[in-house]
Protein backbone atom coordinates (compact mmCIF):
# COMPACT_ATOMS: atom_id res chain seq x y z
CA UNK A 1 0.00 0.00 0.00
CA UNK A 2 1.04 3.61 0.25
CA UNK A 3 4.10 4.24 2.27
CA UNK A 4 5.30 7.81 2.07
CA UNK A 5 8.72 7.10 3.57
CA UNK A 6 9.40 4.15 1.29
CA UNK A 7 10.21 1.76 4.12
CA UNK A 8 10.62 -1.91 3.17
CA UNK A 9 7.66 -4.23 3.47
CA UNK A 10 7.69 -6.29 6.65
CA UNK A 11 4.52 -8.33 6.36
CA UNK A 12 2.86 -9.00 3.04
CA UNK A 13 -0.70 -10.28 3.15
CA UNK A 14 -2.38 -10.96 -0.14
CA UNK A 15 -5.62 -12.71 -0.99
CA UNK A 16 -5.44 -14.62 2.29
CA UNK A 17 -8.17 -16.98 3.46
CA UNK A 18 -7.98 -18.66 6.87
CA UNK A 19 -10.65 -20.85 8.38
CA UNK A 20 -11.63 -23.85 10.38
CA UNK A 21 -12.78 -27.24 9.21
CA UNK A 22 -15.69 -28.74 11.08
CA UNK A 23 -14.47 -32.03 12.42
CA UNK A 24 -17.76 -33.86 11.92
CA UNK A 25 -19.26 -32.49 8.73
CA UNK A 26 -15.91 -31.66 7.14
CA UNK A 27 -17.26 -28.35 5.88
CA UNK A 28 -14.91 -25.38 5.77
CA UNK A 29 -15.75 -22.15 7.54
CA UNK A 30 -13.76 -19.09 6.46
CA UNK A 31 -13.01 -16.77 9.38
CA UNK A 32 -10.93 -14.42 7.21
CA UNK A 33 -11.30 -14.06 3.46
CA UNK A 34 -9.80 -12.06 0.56
CA UNK A 35 -7.55 -10.31 3.01
CA UNK A 36 -4.83 -8.14 1.54
CA UNK A 37 -2.53 -5.41 2.88
CA UNK A 38 1.10 -4.68 3.66
CA UNK A 39 2.84 -3.67 6.83
CA UNK A 40 6.08 -1.79 6.66
CA UNK A 41 9.13 -1.80 8.84
CA UNK A 42 8.79 0.11 12.12
CA UNK A 43 5.04 0.47 11.83
CA UNK A 44 2.78 0.07 14.82
CA UNK A 45 -0.39 -1.33 13.31
CA UNK A 46 -3.68 -1.72 15.12
CA UNK A 47 -6.44 -3.95 13.77
CA UNK A 48 -9.99 -3.20 14.85
CA UNK A 49 -13.18 -4.95 13.90
CA UNK A 50 -16.33 -6.37 15.38
CA UNK A 51 -16.07 -9.32 17.72
CA UNK A 52 -15.83 -12.63 15.86
CA UNK A 53 -14.53 -11.08 12.63
CA UNK A 54 -11.40 -13.21 12.65
CA UNK A 55 -8.82 -10.95 14.30
CA UNK A 56 -7.47 -13.65 16.58
CA UNK A 57 -7.56 -16.12 13.71
CA UNK A 58 -5.48 -13.81 11.55
CA UNK A 59 -2.98 -13.11 14.31
CA UNK A 60 -2.62 -16.83 15.03
CA UNK A 61 -1.80 -17.40 11.37
CA UNK A 62 0.86 -14.68 11.47
CA UNK A 63 2.24 -16.28 14.63
CA UNK A 64 2.43 -19.54 12.69
CA UNK A 65 -0.07 -21.37 14.87
CA UNK A 66 -2.66 -21.76 12.10
CA UNK A 67 -2.08 -22.61 8.43
CA UNK A 68 -3.61 -20.38 5.78
CA UNK A 69 -6.03 -22.02 3.37
CA UNK A 70 -5.32 -19.74 0.44
CA UNK A 71 -3.19 -16.75 -0.59
CA UNK A 72 0.26 -15.61 0.49
CA UNK A 73 1.41 -14.55 3.92
CA UNK A 74 5.04 -13.45 3.88
CA UNK A 75 7.30 -12.05 6.55
CA UNK A 76 10.44 -10.35 5.22
CA UNK A 77 9.75 -11.95 1.85
CA UNK A 78 9.56 -15.53 3.15
CA UNK A 79 6.29 -17.43 3.61
CA UNK A 80 5.20 -18.10 7.18
CA UNK A 81 5.15 -21.83 7.78
CA UNK A 82 5.12 -22.06 11.57
CA UNK A 83 6.19 -20.33 14.75
CA UNK A 84 9.67 -18.85 14.60
CA UNK A 85 12.01 -16.91 16.83
CA UNK A 86 11.43 -13.67 14.90
CA UNK A 87 7.86 -13.38 16.22
CA UNK A 88 6.37 -13.20 19.72
CA UNK A 89 2.77 -13.20 20.77
CA UNK A 90 1.27 -11.36 23.72
CA UNK A 91 -1.70 -13.49 24.61
CA UNK A 92 -5.18 -12.25 25.40
CA UNK A 93 -5.24 -14.29 28.61
CA UNK A 94 -1.87 -13.76 30.25
CA UNK A 95 -1.22 -17.54 30.12
CA UNK A 96 1.68 -17.28 32.53
CA UNK A 97 3.08 -20.51 33.94
CA UNK A 98 1.86 -20.52 37.55
CA UNK A 99 4.80 -22.63 38.69
CA UNK A 100 7.33 -20.08 37.48
CA UNK A 101 8.26 -16.81 39.12
CA UNK A 102 7.84 -13.52 37.27
CA UNK A 103 11.49 -13.57 36.23
CA UNK A 104 11.37 -17.22 35.12
CA UNK A 105 8.20 -16.58 33.12
CA UNK A 106 9.85 -13.67 31.32
CA UNK A 107 12.90 -15.82 30.65
CA UNK A 108 10.88 -18.70 29.23
CA UNK A 109 11.20 -17.72 25.55
CA UNK A 110 14.94 -17.18 25.79
CA UNK A 111 15.27 -20.47 27.66
CA UNK A 112 13.27 -22.38 25.04
CA UNK A 113 15.42 -20.85 22.31
CA UNK A 114 18.64 -21.60 24.21
CA UNK A 115 19.57 -17.96 24.43
CA UNK A 116 19.51 -17.57 28.19
CA UNK A 117 23.20 -16.70 28.55
CA UNK A 118 24.64 -13.78 30.50
CA UNK A 119 23.30 -11.30 27.94
CA UNK A 120 19.89 -12.99 28.04
CA UNK A 121 19.76 -12.78 31.82
CA UNK A 122 20.69 -9.13 31.65
CA UNK A 123 17.90 -8.59 29.12
CA UNK A 124 15.40 -10.22 31.50
CA UNK A 125 16.59 -8.01 34.35
CA UNK A 126 16.34 -4.90 32.17
CA UNK A 127 12.83 -5.81 31.04
CA UNK A 128 11.63 -6.34 34.60
CA UNK A 129 12.78 -2.81 35.27
CA UNK A 130 11.33 -1.46 32.03
CA UNK A 131 7.83 -2.88 32.47
CA UNK A 132 7.72 -1.65 36.06
CA UNK A 133 7.99 -4.96 37.90
CA UNK A 134 11.13 -4.22 39.90
CA UNK A 135 10.92 -6.00 43.24
CA UNK A 136 8.32 -8.43 41.91
CA UNK A 137 10.68 -10.77 40.06
CA UNK A 138 10.37 -13.49 42.70
CA UNK A 139 6.57 -13.43 42.87
CA UNK A 140 4.33 -16.13 41.44
CA UNK A 141 1.49 -15.37 38.99
CA UNK A 142 -1.23 -16.03 41.56
CA UNK A 143 0.15 -13.12 43.57
CA UNK A 144 -0.17 -10.67 40.66
CA UNK A 145 -3.02 -8.38 39.67
CA UNK A 146 -4.40 -8.46 36.13
CA UNK A 147 -2.34 -5.45 35.09
CA UNK A 148 0.87 -6.91 36.48
CA UNK A 149 0.21 -10.24 34.77
CA UNK A 150 -0.09 -8.47 31.44
CA UNK A 151 3.16 -6.65 32.10
CA UNK A 152 4.84 -10.03 32.56
CA UNK A 153 3.09 -11.29 29.42
CA UNK A 154 4.43 -8.30 27.49
CA UNK A 155 7.94 -8.60 28.92
CA UNK A 156 8.01 -12.32 28.07
CA UNK A 157 7.20 -11.48 24.45
CA UNK A 158 9.76 -8.66 24.30
CA UNK A 159 12.50 -10.77 25.89
CA UNK A 160 13.21 -12.74 22.72
CA UNK A 161 13.61 -9.42 20.90
CA UNK A 162 11.16 -10.28 18.13
CA UNK A 163 11.24 -8.71 14.71
CA UNK A 164 7.45 -8.58 14.71
CA UNK A 165 5.51 -8.31 17.94
CA UNK A 166 1.93 -9.60 17.90
CA UNK A 167 -0.54 -8.51 20.56
CA UNK A 168 -4.04 -9.97 20.84
CA UNK A 169 -6.28 -7.64 22.85
CA UNK A 170 -3.77 -7.68 25.69
CA UNK A 171 -5.68 -5.12 27.75
CA UNK A 172 -9.25 -6.25 27.04
CA UNK A 173 -9.64 -8.07 30.34
CA UNK A 174 -8.39 -5.15 32.45
CA UNK A 175 -10.54 -2.56 34.15
CA UNK A 176 -10.82 0.81 32.43
CA UNK A 177 -8.33 2.60 34.63
CA UNK A 178 -5.64 -0.08 34.46
CA UNK A 179 -6.18 -0.27 30.71
CA UNK A 180 -5.43 3.45 30.31
CA UNK A 181 -2.28 3.09 32.36
CA UNK A 182 -1.18 0.06 30.36
CA UNK A 183 -1.76 1.86 27.05
CA UNK A 184 0.54 4.64 28.12
CA UNK A 185 3.02 2.13 29.49
CA UNK A 186 3.05 0.28 26.19
CA UNK A 187 3.89 3.42 24.22
CA UNK A 188 6.57 4.25 26.76
CA UNK A 189 8.05 0.74 26.67
CA UNK A 190 7.83 0.68 22.91
CA UNK A 191 9.81 3.88 22.68
CA UNK A 192 12.24 3.05 25.49
CA UNK A 193 13.20 -0.56 24.74
CA UNK A 194 16.44 -0.23 22.78
CA UNK A 195 16.27 -3.74 21.46
CA UNK A 196 12.63 -3.25 20.52
CA UNK A 197 12.94 0.24 19.12
CA UNK A 198 12.23 0.37 15.44
CA UNK A 199 10.49 -2.97 15.58
CA UNK A 200 7.15 -3.67 14.00
CA UNK A 201 4.01 -4.38 15.99
CA UNK A 202 0.60 -5.76 15.17
CA UNK A 203 -1.91 -4.91 17.87
CA UNK A 204 -5.42 -6.29 17.90
CA UNK A 205 -8.21 -4.63 19.79
CA UNK A 206 -11.89 -3.88 19.58
CA UNK A 207 -11.37 -0.65 21.48
CA UNK A 208 -11.16 2.13 18.88
CA UNK A 209 -9.68 4.90 21.07
CA UNK A 210 -7.00 2.43 22.17
CA UNK A 211 -6.16 1.71 18.54
CA UNK A 212 -5.93 5.41 17.66
CA UNK A 213 -3.82 6.18 20.71
CA UNK A 214 -1.29 3.40 20.07
CA UNK A 215 -1.04 3.00 16.32
CA UNK A 216 0.61 4.58 13.33
CA UNK A 217 -2.06 3.05 11.18
CA UNK A 218 -5.41 1.41 11.98
CA UNK A 219 -6.79 -1.38 9.82
CA UNK A 220 -10.55 -1.87 9.98
CA UNK A 221 -11.85 -5.40 9.42
CA UNK A 222 -15.36 -6.20 8.24
CA UNK A 223 -17.69 -8.52 10.09
CA UNK A 224 -17.22 -12.26 9.57
CA UNK A 225 -15.63 -13.35 7.31
CA UNK A 226 -13.06 -10.65 7.99
CA UNK A 227 -11.78 -8.53 5.09
CA UNK A 228 -9.94 -5.24 5.06
CA UNK A 229 -12.38 -2.35 4.87
CA UNK A 230 -10.07 0.58 5.28
CA UNK A 231 -6.56 1.49 6.32
CA UNK A 232 -6.49 4.75 8.27
CA UNK A 233 -3.14 6.47 9.00
CA UNK A 234 -2.99 8.17 12.40
CA UNK A 235 -1.02 11.40 12.20
CA UNK A 236 -0.79 12.15 15.90
CA UNK A 237 2.69 13.27 16.98
CA UNK A 238 4.91 10.99 19.07
CA UNK A 239 5.76 10.54 21.87
CA UNK A 240 2.14 10.37 22.88
CA UNK A 241 0.74 10.67 26.36
CA UNK A 242 -2.74 10.86 27.77
CA UNK A 243 -3.14 14.51 26.75
CA UNK A 244 -3.28 13.35 23.14
CA UNK A 245 -6.65 11.80 23.89
CA UNK A 246 -8.15 15.24 24.43
CA UNK A 247 -6.83 16.74 21.19
CA UNK A 248 -9.37 17.48 18.43
CA UNK A 249 -7.36 15.37 15.93
CA UNK A 250 -7.62 12.37 18.22
CA UNK A 251 -11.34 12.88 18.64
CA UNK A 252 -11.91 13.30 14.92
CA UNK A 253 -10.05 10.14 14.01
CA UNK A 254 -11.68 8.16 16.78
CA UNK A 255 -15.09 9.40 15.69
CA UNK A 256 -14.41 8.48 12.08
CA UNK A 257 -13.14 5.00 12.94
CA UNK A 258 -15.91 4.32 15.44
CA UNK A 259 -18.43 5.12 12.75
CA UNK A 260 -16.67 2.77 10.37
CA UNK A 261 -16.54 -0.09 12.89
CA UNK A 262 -20.18 0.41 13.87
CA UNK A 263 -21.19 0.09 10.23
CA UNK A 264 -19.34 -3.25 10.07
CA UNK A 265 -21.24 -4.75 12.94
CA UNK A 266 -24.57 -3.17 12.09
CA UNK A 267 -25.14 -2.54 8.40
CA UNK A 268 -22.99 -4.94 6.52
CA UNK A 269 -24.82 -4.55 3.19
CA UNK A 270 -23.91 -0.90 3.00
CA UNK A 271 -20.22 -1.75 2.87
CA UNK A 272 -20.63 -4.52 0.36
CA UNK A 273 -22.53 -2.41 -2.14
Amino acid sequence: MDDATGRPVKLDVSDVCIGYRDRRSGSFFAAVQDLGFQIHENEFIAIVGPSGCGKTTFLSAVAGLLPIAHGTLELNGAPITGPAEDRSLVFQQASLFPWRTVAANIAYGLEAQRRLDAAGRQRVADLIELVGLAGKEGKYPRELSGGMSQRVNLARALATDPDLLLLDEPFAALDAQTREVMQEELTRIWQADEAGAGKTALFITHDVPEAVFLADRVLVFSASPGRLVESVPIDLPRPRNRDVKRSPEFMDQTEYLLDLVMRQSGLRQEVES
Binding site: A84, F91, S95, Y108, Y140, T160
Partner: protein, 279 residues
Protein backbone atom coordinates in the same frame (compact mmCIF):
# COMPACT_ATOMS: atom_id res chain seq x y z
CA UNK B 1 -1.85 -1.88 45.87
CA UNK B 2 1.42 -1.71 47.77
CA UNK B 3 0.34 1.69 49.03
CA UNK B 4 -2.59 0.35 50.97
CA UNK B 5 -0.46 -2.36 52.51
CA UNK B 6 2.21 0.05 53.60
CA UNK B 7 -0.26 2.55 54.95
CA UNK B 8 -2.45 -0.15 56.40
CA UNK B 9 0.11 -2.08 58.38
CA UNK B 10 0.97 0.44 61.15
CA UNK B 11 -2.71 1.17 61.68
CA UNK B 12 -3.37 -2.44 62.58
CA UNK B 13 -0.41 -2.54 64.94
CA UNK B 14 -1.36 0.61 66.80
CA UNK B 15 -4.97 -0.50 67.24
CA UNK B 16 -5.58 -1.55 70.87
CA UNK B 17 -6.09 -5.29 71.29
CA UNK B 18 -9.73 -6.24 71.71
CA UNK B 19 -11.76 -9.33 72.39
CA UNK B 20 -11.47 -10.17 68.67
CA UNK B 21 -7.68 -10.47 68.85
CA UNK B 22 -7.69 -13.08 71.63
CA UNK B 23 -5.52 -15.99 70.61
CA UNK B 24 -7.53 -19.22 70.31
CA UNK B 25 -6.94 -21.60 73.20
CA UNK B 26 -4.58 -24.56 72.86
CA UNK B 27 -7.57 -26.88 72.60
CA UNK B 28 -9.22 -24.82 69.86
CA UNK B 29 -6.04 -24.76 67.80
CA UNK B 30 -5.43 -28.51 67.94
CA UNK B 31 -9.03 -29.61 68.16
CA UNK B 32 -9.11 -32.35 65.54
CA UNK B 33 -5.78 -33.86 66.58
CA UNK B 34 -6.76 -33.92 70.25
CA UNK B 35 -10.18 -35.40 69.55
CA UNK B 36 -8.55 -38.09 67.43
CA UNK B 37 -6.12 -38.97 70.21
CA UNK B 38 -8.92 -39.10 72.76
CA UNK B 39 -10.98 -41.35 70.49
CA UNK B 40 -8.05 -43.73 70.08
CA UNK B 41 -7.38 -43.74 73.82
CA UNK B 42 -11.02 -44.55 74.59
CA UNK B 43 -10.98 -47.56 72.29
CA UNK B 44 -7.62 -48.82 73.53
CA UNK B 45 -8.45 -48.42 77.21
CA UNK B 46 -11.85 -50.12 76.75
CA UNK B 47 -10.07 -53.00 75.08
CA UNK B 48 -7.52 -53.19 77.91
CA UNK B 49 -10.28 -53.03 80.52
CA UNK B 50 -12.21 -55.86 78.85
CA UNK B 51 -9.04 -57.97 79.00
CA UNK B 52 -8.46 -57.13 82.69
CA UNK B 53 -12.08 -57.81 83.62
CA UNK B 54 -11.78 -61.13 81.82
CA UNK B 55 -14.49 -60.62 79.22
CA UNK B 56 -11.89 -61.04 76.47
CA UNK B 57 -9.11 -63.59 76.44
CA UNK B 58 -5.84 -61.87 75.59
CA UNK B 59 -4.34 -65.14 74.29
CA UNK B 60 -7.02 -64.84 71.65
CA UNK B 61 -7.45 -61.10 71.11
CA UNK B 62 -4.16 -59.65 72.40
CA UNK B 63 -4.26 -56.37 74.33
CA UNK B 64 -2.78 -52.89 73.97
CA UNK B 65 -0.29 -53.37 76.77
CA UNK B 66 0.56 -56.84 75.50
CA UNK B 67 1.23 -55.39 72.06
CA UNK B 68 3.59 -52.81 73.54
CA UNK B 69 5.47 -55.61 75.29
CA UNK B 70 5.38 -57.45 71.98
CA UNK B 71 7.36 -54.68 70.34
CA UNK B 72 10.11 -55.29 72.88
CA UNK B 73 10.08 -58.97 72.03
CA UNK B 74 10.21 -58.28 68.29
CA UNK B 75 13.14 -55.92 68.76
CA UNK B 76 15.07 -58.44 70.83
CA UNK B 77 14.50 -61.37 68.49
CA UNK B 78 15.45 -59.43 65.33
CA UNK B 79 11.89 -59.28 64.03
CA UNK B 80 11.48 -55.50 64.18
CA UNK B 81 14.13 -53.57 62.25
CA UNK B 82 14.98 -56.07 59.59
CA UNK B 83 11.37 -56.79 58.52
CA UNK B 84 10.58 -53.05 58.67
CA UNK B 85 13.54 -52.34 56.43
CA UNK B 86 12.50 -55.14 54.11
CA UNK B 87 8.93 -53.87 53.80
CA UNK B 88 10.09 -50.28 53.28
CA UNK B 89 12.52 -51.44 50.60
CA UNK B 90 9.73 -53.21 48.70
CA UNK B 91 7.50 -50.13 48.97
CA UNK B 92 10.25 -47.66 48.05
CA UNK B 93 11.57 -49.65 45.13
CA UNK B 94 8.07 -50.43 43.90
CA UNK B 95 7.07 -46.76 43.99
CA UNK B 96 10.27 -45.73 42.27
CA UNK B 97 9.69 -48.19 39.45
CA UNK B 98 6.04 -47.10 39.23
CA UNK B 99 7.08 -43.45 38.90
CA UNK B 100 9.72 -44.19 36.29
CA UNK B 101 7.16 -46.16 34.26
CA UNK B 102 3.96 -44.31 35.11
CA UNK B 103 4.83 -40.63 34.78
CA UNK B 104 6.48 -40.58 31.32
CA UNK B 105 4.08 -43.19 29.97
CA UNK B 106 1.08 -41.30 31.36
CA UNK B 107 2.28 -38.01 29.86
CA UNK B 108 2.79 -39.59 26.44
CA UNK B 109 -0.54 -41.44 26.49
CA UNK B 110 -2.38 -38.35 27.71
CA UNK B 111 -0.94 -36.14 24.97
CA UNK B 112 -1.70 -38.51 22.11
CA UNK B 113 -5.32 -39.12 21.21
CA UNK B 114 -4.50 -42.36 19.39
CA UNK B 115 -2.51 -43.81 22.26
CA UNK B 116 -5.18 -42.65 24.67
CA UNK B 117 -7.87 -44.39 22.65
CA UNK B 118 -5.83 -47.56 22.60
CA UNK B 119 -4.73 -47.64 26.21
CA UNK B 120 -7.45 -45.93 28.21
CA UNK B 121 -9.95 -48.83 28.52
CA UNK B 122 -7.20 -51.21 29.49
CA UNK B 123 -5.80 -48.88 32.14
CA UNK B 124 -9.27 -48.27 33.56
CA UNK B 125 -9.95 -51.99 33.83
CA UNK B 126 -6.60 -52.70 35.43
CA UNK B 127 -7.22 -49.85 37.84
CA UNK B 128 -10.67 -51.10 38.80
CA UNK B 129 -9.94 -54.81 39.19
CA UNK B 130 -8.54 -55.48 42.69
CA UNK B 131 -4.88 -56.25 42.08
CA UNK B 132 -4.84 -59.11 44.62
CA UNK B 133 -6.67 -61.40 42.17
CA UNK B 134 -3.49 -61.40 40.09
CA UNK B 135 -1.52 -62.75 43.03
CA UNK B 136 -1.77 -66.46 42.09
CA UNK B 137 -0.83 -65.72 38.49
CA UNK B 138 2.11 -63.58 39.52
CA UNK B 139 3.29 -66.34 41.85
CA UNK B 140 2.93 -68.76 38.94
CA UNK B 141 5.01 -66.49 36.73
CA UNK B 142 7.65 -65.24 39.11
CA UNK B 143 7.70 -67.71 41.98
CA UNK B 144 7.71 -66.33 45.51
CA UNK B 145 11.03 -64.53 45.67
CA UNK B 146 11.83 -60.81 45.88
CA UNK B 147 11.06 -60.22 42.21
CA UNK B 148 7.52 -61.46 42.64
CA UNK B 149 6.97 -59.21 45.65
CA UNK B 150 8.24 -56.24 43.70
CA UNK B 151 6.01 -57.08 40.75
CA UNK B 152 2.98 -57.06 43.03
CA UNK B 153 3.92 -53.72 44.56
CA UNK B 154 4.41 -52.18 41.12
CA UNK B 155 1.21 -53.79 39.88
CA UNK B 156 -0.65 -52.23 42.81
CA UNK B 157 0.91 -48.78 42.48
CA UNK B 158 1.35 -48.12 38.80
CA UNK B 159 -2.29 -47.99 37.70
CA UNK B 160 -3.56 -45.27 40.04
CA UNK B 161 -0.50 -43.26 39.11
CA UNK B 162 -0.97 -43.87 35.40
CA UNK B 163 -4.67 -43.04 35.42
CA UNK B 164 -4.04 -39.74 37.20
CA UNK B 165 -1.11 -38.70 35.03
CA UNK B 166 -3.13 -39.45 31.89
CA UNK B 167 -6.01 -37.34 33.21
CA UNK B 168 -3.61 -34.54 34.08
CA UNK B 169 -1.93 -34.56 30.69
CA UNK B 170 -5.31 -34.46 28.97
CA UNK B 171 -6.49 -31.55 31.09
CA UNK B 172 -3.34 -29.56 30.54
CA UNK B 173 -4.30 -25.97 29.76
CA UNK B 174 -4.10 -25.54 25.96
CA UNK B 175 -2.88 -21.98 26.50
CA UNK B 176 0.30 -23.26 28.14
CA UNK B 177 1.05 -25.42 25.13
CA UNK B 178 0.38 -22.52 22.82
CA UNK B 179 2.88 -20.36 24.70
CA UNK B 180 5.33 -23.18 24.31
CA UNK B 181 4.73 -23.37 20.56
CA UNK B 182 4.98 -19.64 20.00
CA UNK B 183 8.37 -19.56 21.67
CA UNK B 184 9.55 -22.52 19.58
CA UNK B 185 10.13 -24.94 22.47
CA UNK B 186 11.45 -28.32 21.47
CA UNK B 187 9.25 -31.32 22.27
CA UNK B 188 11.51 -32.35 25.11
CA UNK B 189 11.59 -28.84 26.56
CA UNK B 190 7.79 -28.67 26.41
CA UNK B 191 7.47 -32.04 28.11
CA UNK B 192 9.92 -31.13 30.85
CA UNK B 193 9.06 -27.45 31.44
CA UNK B 194 5.33 -27.34 30.65
CA UNK B 195 3.65 -30.74 30.62
CA UNK B 196 5.43 -32.07 33.70
CA UNK B 197 4.91 -29.12 36.06
CA UNK B 198 1.43 -28.49 34.61
CA UNK B 199 0.44 -32.05 35.44
CA UNK B 200 2.14 -32.04 38.84
CA UNK B 201 -1.07 -31.72 40.90
CA UNK B 202 -2.43 -34.81 39.14
CA UNK B 203 0.87 -36.65 39.41
CA UNK B 204 0.89 -36.08 43.14
CA UNK B 205 -2.73 -37.15 43.53
CA UNK B 206 -1.78 -40.36 41.73
CA UNK B 207 1.35 -40.65 43.82
CA UNK B 208 -0.70 -40.42 47.00
CA UNK B 209 -2.89 -43.32 45.90
CA UNK B 210 0.12 -45.23 44.62
CA UNK B 211 1.90 -44.96 47.96
CA UNK B 212 -1.14 -46.23 49.85
CA UNK B 213 -1.66 -49.10 47.45
CA UNK B 214 2.00 -50.04 47.31
CA UNK B 215 2.00 -50.56 51.07
CA UNK B 216 -1.06 -52.79 50.74
CA UNK B 217 0.67 -54.63 47.89
CA UNK B 218 3.86 -55.15 49.88
CA UNK B 219 2.03 -56.43 52.97
CA UNK B 220 -0.24 -58.73 50.97
CA UNK B 221 2.77 -60.15 49.15
CA UNK B 222 4.50 -60.79 52.47
CA UNK B 223 1.43 -62.40 54.01
CA UNK B 224 1.02 -64.87 51.21
CA UNK B 225 4.48 -65.57 49.87
CA UNK B 226 6.97 -63.84 52.08
CA UNK B 227 9.87 -65.09 54.08
CA UNK B 228 10.60 -61.61 55.35
CA UNK B 229 8.90 -58.28 55.94
CA UNK B 230 6.34 -57.13 58.49
CA UNK B 231 3.51 -58.95 56.73
CA UNK B 232 5.44 -62.16 57.15
CA UNK B 233 5.98 -61.44 60.88
CA UNK B 234 2.23 -60.94 61.34
CA UNK B 235 1.53 -64.16 59.46
CA UNK B 236 4.17 -66.22 61.29
CA UNK B 237 3.37 -64.93 64.78
CA UNK B 238 -0.36 -65.47 64.29
CA UNK B 239 0.32 -69.08 63.25
CA UNK B 240 2.30 -69.47 66.49
CA UNK B 241 -0.67 -68.06 68.46
CA UNK B 242 1.50 -65.11 69.55
CA UNK B 243 -1.22 -62.49 69.19
CA UNK B 244 0.71 -59.80 71.08
CA UNK B 245 3.61 -60.11 68.68
CA UNK B 246 1.35 -60.04 65.63
CA UNK B 247 -0.48 -57.00 67.02
CA UNK B 248 2.84 -55.25 67.65
CA UNK B 249 3.87 -55.77 64.02
CA UNK B 250 0.50 -54.39 62.90
CA UNK B 251 1.18 -51.34 65.06
CA UNK B 252 4.48 -50.81 63.28
CA UNK B 253 2.71 -51.09 59.91
CA UNK B 254 0.21 -48.46 61.08
CA UNK B 255 3.04 -46.09 62.01
CA UNK B 256 4.63 -46.59 58.57
CA UNK B 257 1.29 -45.92 56.88
CA UNK B 258 0.79 -42.68 58.81
CA UNK B 259 4.33 -41.48 58.15
CA UNK B 260 4.04 -42.23 54.43
CA UNK B 261 0.76 -40.32 54.19
CA UNK B 262 2.30 -37.36 56.02
CA UNK B 263 5.36 -37.43 53.79
CA UNK B 264 3.25 -37.35 50.66
CA UNK B 265 1.20 -34.44 51.99
CA UNK B 266 4.40 -32.55 52.73
CA UNK B 267 5.69 -33.28 49.23
CA UNK B 268 2.43 -32.04 47.74
CA UNK B 269 2.62 -28.75 49.57
CA UNK B 270 6.23 -28.34 48.42
CA UNK B 271 5.67 -29.13 44.75
CA UNK B 272 2.29 -27.57 44.04
CA UNK B 273 2.45 -24.51 46.24
CA UNK B 274 1.76 -22.44 43.11
CA UNK B 275 -1.69 -23.85 42.47
CA UNK B 276 -4.62 -22.66 44.50
CA UNK B 277 -5.45 -19.17 45.63
CA UNK B 278 -3.67 -16.59 47.72
CA UNK B 279 -4.57 -16.53 51.35
Amino acid sequence: MTDTVERGAPVIESRPLTELDRRPTFFARHKSLLLGLIGGLIVLSSWQTLVWVGVVDDKFASSPLGAIEGIGYLAESGMLWEPTFSTLTSVGLGILISIVIGVPLGLVIGRSSVLHGLAEPLISIMYSVPFVVFLPIIIFWFGIDDTARLVIVVWAAVFPLLINVVAGARNLDANYLQVSRVFCSSRLKTLWSVSLPGTMPYILAGFRQAVARSLVGAIVAELFMGTEGLGYVVQAETSNFQMDHAMAAIGVIAVIAVLLTRGVAWLESRLTFWSGSVD
